[in-house]
Amino acid sequence: MSAADQHQRPIREELRQDEQLETTAIAVEKPKIIELQDVWLAFDHPVLCGVDLHVHEGETLLILGESGSGKSTILKIILRLLLPDRGTVRVFGQEITGLSFEEVLRIRRRIGMVFQSSALFDSLTIYENVAYPVRENTDLDEYEIERIVREKLLFVDLDPDQVMDQLPAELSGGMRKRVGIARAIANNPEVVLYDEPTAGLDPLAVDTIIRLIRKLQSELGVTSVLVTHDLRSGFRVASRVNLLRDGRMVFDGTPEDMVASEDPYIQAYLSLS
């Protein structure tokens, strides 16, 4: 038995035990709500070279790839924080590359994003951070905003009375990530994008974040796109996996398909991850 096989064995076993995969078949029958076709983007060097990707309503897509392969760039293109040089990007059935700024804002309001660095506003309290998207996009009164903030903080297993008045710098990395999730779902988005949600966290904090992502899937039915290096955590939540290599998608299938793949690059990727 090769070293790669030895390393992959636990992943296969974990997959068999993971009830999350049961959602895969349901998800793929639903309509595509995000679709990238032949997307190209270069900065100083080519980053995306004809990427094709789609996400069905209700599914959780895991995007894997080496560092600098353009995984986070794809999330920014979906939010139209970046414009591709070429290609089509359809979100909720609308081609977003040609939309006006106001039209893009309407699309963004239906998407929540959890950033790698949490990206909490460091001059605002936790309450103000979670309230921000609600204030920005609704005319709700302060009483209703506080109710939403408390509800979202409780959803991510944080005690509102304990954290609401604190600044982000006063929280641990794991707690900041949880506040980031609470803020991302404050407006009840249909889609949540996660950029390395478990990066830099200890194993217990990683487990908490993964449980939260699954809770969002099961209780709120949100569609998720997850970018991570953390293969094990990613496989615990993903219903489908895309692998990015040299600016192109080289794999599209279930986590089980990926583990079973004979492709030498995929085998090497799995064994070293």
Partner: protein, 273 residues
Amino acid sequence: MHTAFATLAERSRGAAAGVYEYFSLAARATRALFSRPFYGRDILIQLDRIGVASLPIMAFTGLVTGLVLALQSEDELERFGALNYMGNIVGASMVREIGPVMGSLAFAGRVASGIAAELGSMRVTEQIDALQSFGTDPIKKLVKPRLLAGIIMLPALTILMDLIGILGGMLMALGDEGVPADVFLRGARTAFGLGGVLAGFMPRDFVMGLLKPAVFGGAITLTGSYYGLHATGGADAVGRATTRAVVVSSMLIFGLDYFLTQLLMVLLYNQQI
């Protein structure tokens, strides 16, 4: 040789693109001044942070400038027996030229660096991406309040600085040469009126001394915002953005001072260029 030309061409293209982006930001920020949402709370915060908090450095700069002006002019005036005209010299110099330019330089050192560091660190920690993901236009939320605060507060601070400068000059004249305070102040007041008045009550010199800082205040806050928003990378990028913001703001103050003086000479004093 070929490589040197290629590098030069590349840098020229980069500089041209930078100038284009700067003016694009200026145009978008100016449009944003008149469009919703207005973010009143952010404007008040910036009026305080940019304006009120700059009071000590502006007062100190004014006081020292007034003292030095009086000190430098006393020998020459004494030689011609014209010490009683010291108020005219200090008053005219402070209001017309030295107050606006010296005050703006001190203001640029504090404000342009502060804005570039704040927005730069927001950029590299993805806080600006987060704002955009919630449907917020960073130009309206971040640049507009700072631009408005610069345009409003620098002229106000300049008036105060002029007064403190004249007071400093008066103290020097009184203490060093025994020029009576009322003689000094009468001379300073006369100097205000030398350029004539607008609308029957507004000294032209005073109007010029207010229009210049309003433009400088806009240029300084815009430059800080531009370099902050365009910071890429980590802490070193924020450091570079901060340094460039101060250097470019200072150069802009001198360049704009020349062109504004020419323009205002024609508009306010009907002088031919």
